[in-house]
C-alpha cells in the first residue's frame, strides 16, 4: 500500500509539470504579458508605466527558454516560476502585490464553511431521495420526480439565488440575506441561505445520477439473493444496494472532495462570502497571472490528491481491491 502510494506520487510530478506548462501556454497565448499589464493598469496607462510594471515582475524575460545568450538558459519566465513553485512559494499577486499564500489561507475557511455543509447535506439528501425513488421505481411519483429533477437542473443557479434572497430579505427577515462574519456559532445565520441554495441547485442532477446508479445495482444477482433470503425491500436498499452503490459513489464523489476548498463562484459573489470561489475566475478576468498560476498549481495538487484519496477510499470500501 505504502509502496503503491509512493509510486503514484512519483507519477504525479510530471502531471503537475504538464499542467503548469499548459496553463502557462494557455495564459500567455491568450495575451502577451504586455496585454496583461495593460489590463491591470487600465486604459490610461502609458507605455512607460507598462514597461516598468513588466520589468518589476520579471515578465520582460523570455517566455520559455532564455536564448538571448546574455543570461543562463534557464533564466526565463516559465522556468523561474516553476522553480519558485517547486519550493512551494506561491509568490505575490500581480495586481495587489499581496503574498498569495496569505490570500489563500484567508479564503479557505469561508469557502469550506460554505461548501462542506452543502456538500454533505446535498449528498445525504440526494442519496436518500435516490434510494426512495428506487424504492418506488417506475411509479407515477418516480416519473414526477424525474421531471422535477430535470426541471431543477434546467433552472440556472442565479435564479435560485435571486428568488431566495428576495424571499429572505423582503418577506421573512429571519436572518441576513447577505454578508458574512466569522464569529463562532452565529456564523451559521449567514450560511443558512447559501448552503440551502447550493444544495437545491445540485439536487436534481445528483438525484438522477444516484438513482441511475442504484437502479443499476438493483439488477444485480446478489440483490435477488438478498430478497430470496427474506430481506425487506427497505433493508435491501439500505444495506445491499447502498453499500455497493457507495463504491461507485466514491469514485464520483471523493475526487471532488479536495475541491470543496475552492468554494463556489456564483454563491460567494452573491452572498459576499470572502472565499476562494472567484479567485481563479476574477484572476482570469483581471488578469492576474500570478493568481491563476498559484490557483492552478494548488488546484492540480488538489486534483491529484483527490485521485489518491479515491484510490484509498476505493480500497477501503471495496474488499475486492488491494493497492499494489
Amino acid at each position: 500500500m505504502v509502496a503503491y502510494l509512493i509510486r503514484r506520487l512519483f507519477f504525479f510530478v510530471p502531471i503537475v509539470f504538464g499542467v503548469m506548462l499548459l496553463t502557462f501556454v494557455l495564459f500567455f497565448v491568450v495575451q502577451s504579458p504586455d496585454a496583461m499589464a495593460r489590463r491591470v493598469l487600465g486604459p490610461k496607462a502609458t507605455p512607460k508605466a507598462v514597461e516598468n510594471w513588466l520589468h518589476n515582475r520579471g515578465y520582460d524575460k523570455p517566455l520559455l527558454l532564455n536564448r538571448t545568450g546574455q543570461a543562463p538558459w534557464h533564466d526565463s519566465l516559465f522556468l523561474n516560476q516553476m522553480g519558485r513553485l517547486a519550493r512551494f512559494d506561491l509568490g505575490k499577486s500581480d495586481v495587489t502585490n499581496r503574498p498569495l499564500a496569505e490570500d489563500f489561507r484567508e479564503g479557505a475557511l469561508p469557502s469550506l464553511l460554505l461548501t462542506v455543509p452543502a456538500f454533505f447535506v446535498g449528498l445525504a439528501l440526494s442519496v436518500v431521495f435516490a434510494l426512495y425513488l428506487v424504492f418506488i421505481r417506475n411509479g407515477v411519483v418516480d416519473l414526477a420526480a424525474s421531471l422535477a429533477c430535470v426541471a431543477l437542473m434546467s433552472v440556472p443557479v442565479m435564479v435560485y439565488i435571486i428568488a431566495g434572497q428576495f424571499l429572505v430579505a423582503q418577506v421573512l427577515n429571519y436572518f441576513p440575506a447577505f454578508g458574512f462574519q466569522l464569529e463562532g456559532f452565529s456564523t451559521a445565520k449567514f450560511l443558512l441561505l447559501p448552503v440551502a441554495l447550493m444544495v437545491v441547485s445540485g439536487l436534481g442532477a445528483d438525484v438522477r445520477l444516484f438513482r441511475a446508479m442504484f437502479i443499476e445495482e438493483m439488477g444485480q444477482d446478489y440483490i435477488r439473493t438478498a430478497r430470496a433470503k427474506g430481506v425487506s425491500s427497505a433493508l435491501v436498499l439500505l444495506r445491499h444496494v447502498f453499500k455497493n452503490g457507495l463504491i461507485n459513489l466514491i469514485t464520483l464523489v471523493v475526487a471532488s472532495l479536495p475541491f470543496l476548498i475552492m468554494g463556489s463562484v456564483v454563491l460567494e459573489n452573491f452572498f459576499g462570502i470572502p472565499g476562494l470561489g472567484n479567485k481563479l475566475f476574477s484572476a482570469i478576468q483581471a488578469p492576474d497571472f500570478a493568481v491563476v498560476q498559484a490557483s492552478v498549481f494548488l488546484g492540480s495538487l488538489l486534483y491529484l490528491g483527490g485521485l489518491l484519496l479515491t484510490d484509498i477510499c476505493y480500497a477501503w470500501a471495496d474488499p475486492r481491491i488491494r493497492l499494489q
Binding site: 490610461k44 484567508e106 434572497q165 429571519y174 436572518f175 440575506a177 449567514f190 427497505a234 433493508l235 488578469p287
Partner: protein
Amino acid sequence: MPFRRHPRRPLFFAAAFRGLLLLSVLGVGGCSNSPHPEPLAEKSENGAPWKARYSALPEDPRSLDPQVTYDNVSRRIMEPVQECLLEYHPFKTDPYELRPCLLTQLPVRTEREGGGISYQCELKSGILFHDDPCFPGGKGRELEAKDVEFAFQRMADPKVECPVVSTLQDYIEGLGETFEAARKSGEFDYSKPLSGLKVTGRYTFEIRLKEAYPQLLYWLAMHFTSPVAREAVEYYDGKTHEGVARELFRFHPVATGPFRIAEWKRNTRIRLQRNPGYRTTAFPTEGWEAAQEGLLRPLAGRALPLVDEVSFTIFRESIPIFLLFRQGYLDGMGVGKDAFSSLITPSKDLSAKYLERGVTLHRDTEPSTYFMSINMEDPVLGPNKKLRQALSAAFNAQGYLDVFFNSVPIVAEQLLPPGIAGYQKDFRNPYAFNLEKAKALMVEAGYPGGRDASGKTLELTLDTNGGSADERLMAEFEQRQFEAIGIKVKVIENPFARLMEKMDQGSFQISAGSGWGADYPDPENFFFLYYSKNLPPTGKNHSRYKNPEFDRLFETMATMENSPEREQIARKLNMILSEDVPHLLTLHRSVFGLTQPWAPRVQSNPMLEGGLKYAVVDEALREKLRGDWNRKPLWPALLLAACVVSAGTFALNVYRRS
C-alpha cells in the same frame, strides 16, 4: 446490521417538536438579520451616541499607496484616509474650484530667471499623522515639508510604480531623469534630493517646473502628491518584520486624513474610524445652493468629520445592494439598471413607495464623455468627412441611452462635459441623430443608400469590448443604427487588452466604448486626446487625428490660466472637432443615487469620491425605521416546521410499511 423492529414514534415527534421550537426561537426570536457587525464602539469620546455610516463597495481596493492609487474603488477609501495638499470645494462644481487643504493657501506662482516656473507652498502647522506603531511611542508625529519631498521621491522610484510619472516628468524638473537613473541602477537613492522639489523650511517647499503648466494645481489635489511619512514605508515595507505578519504599506496607509482604517477584512468589509487628532479642515461656511441652506447652515464651521465610523461592505454582485438598501442596512446606493424600474417613475421621479419612506433621489453627472473612436487613418473613413458625418447623424444616442441607461445620462453634444471651462451649454452637435440628414450625407459621401459607385454595399467593422450580456446587446444596437443607412457592420468582439492593442496599433475602423473621465476639470485634459503629438502608442489620440489648426490652438490654450479668452479657444476647438467627426459622441455619464431619510446628502462633487468627511447621519431615526422595515412574520416558520414534520412522518411510514 442490527435494526430496531419497532421504531419509537413518540421519540421522533418529541425531536421534531423540539426542532420546531428551536427554529422559532432562532428565526422569529432575537436573531438579527443585520449583515453588519456591531459598531466599533457604543459612544464616542465626548459621550455622544456613536454614529456610523454604511456604504457599498464593489471590490477590495487594489492599493492604498497614495503614489499608486488610480482606480475609483481604491480612491473611495483613499479619500477619507489620506488628504491632499489642495482639495476641491465640496459645493462649487460649476466651475470646479480648488481650496487649500494641507497647505495654508493656494501655491504662489513665481517665474524663475533663466526660464522655468516655481510654486511656493506652505503646509499648515500642527497637522498630525495617524497614531501608528511605526512612530516612536505609537503617537503620530507632525507633518513637515520633508514628507512632501519623500512623496515626490517615491513618484520617481520605479519600484513604486506611480502611474502618472510619465506625464508629470514632462513638467516637473528632474523627475524623469531620476526615474531613468534608478531604473538603470535598480536602486533608488532617497538621500539625494529631487531637483523639482526643494524643501525651504520646516513647513515650506517649492515645486520647480520646466515650463508653464497651470494644471499642476489640480495634481496637488490628487493623491499622487500627498505627503508620506518615511517611517511608515520603512516600517511596513522593510525587510525584517521580526516574525510578525505585517500588512504592506500599500494596504496600511499612515496619513493625516479625517479617518483611519480600523478593520479590513478582505472581500468582506472595510471599516474606517474617526481620527481623533484631526484638525486640518472644517465644514465650509459658504458655497452651497440656496435650497440646501436649512440643512447645511447649522453645520457651517463645525469640526470634521461628522460621523465616527464609515463601514464599507463589499458587494461583488449589485443585486443584494438593492435588497439591503430596502431593509435599511445601507445608507445610500447608486441606482443601477437592475433596480431602476422599481425605483424611478416614468417622469424620472422616485416612485411613491420610496417617497413615503423618506428616500431621496439624486442625479449626479460625472465630468466624463463617452464616444466611439473613428480611425482617421482608415482608407475608407479617414478621407471621407461626409461619411463620418453621416455615421454620426445615423447614431441615435438618445435611443441608446433609453435602452441601456434608462435615459439617465445626458446625450453628449460636444467633447467637453458640463462643469469644465469651455463647455457650451447651448451648443448642439450639427451631426446629431437625424436619419434623413444621414441618408443625404451618405449620398454626398458617395454611398447613396449605402452602396458605392459599383453598387457594392459599404462594409465597416466595429470593434467592441466583448464580454457581458449588456455589451453584446449594445453591439447589436450599434450595428442596427448603421444598417439603417444601408451600411453593413461586422462586429468584432475583443477581449479588453486586445481592443487596447488594436487601438494603439490603429488596426480598427470604428471602436465602440471609448471614453475619457477627467483627471482634473480642465479642457486641456480632454482636448489633448486629439493633439497630433499625442499619437499612440505613447499618447491617447486613438483616432489618430491630425489637424494643424487644432494643434496650434490647443498649444496656446493648454498653458493658459483660466480666462474668457481661454474659453473662446476651447469653443473653437469644440467646433473643429464637431465638424471633423473623429468620433461618434454618445453620452456624459450620470447616475441616479438614493439616500435614506437618516443620511441626507450634503455634497455631490464627483471629484471628491464621496466626500465622507462631510457626511452626516441620524442614528436614532435609522434605528426606528429599520425596526419598522424588518418585521418577521411567524407563519412561514410554522409552515416550514409542518412540512418537515409531515415529511418525516411520511418517511417513517414508508419504512414501516415495507
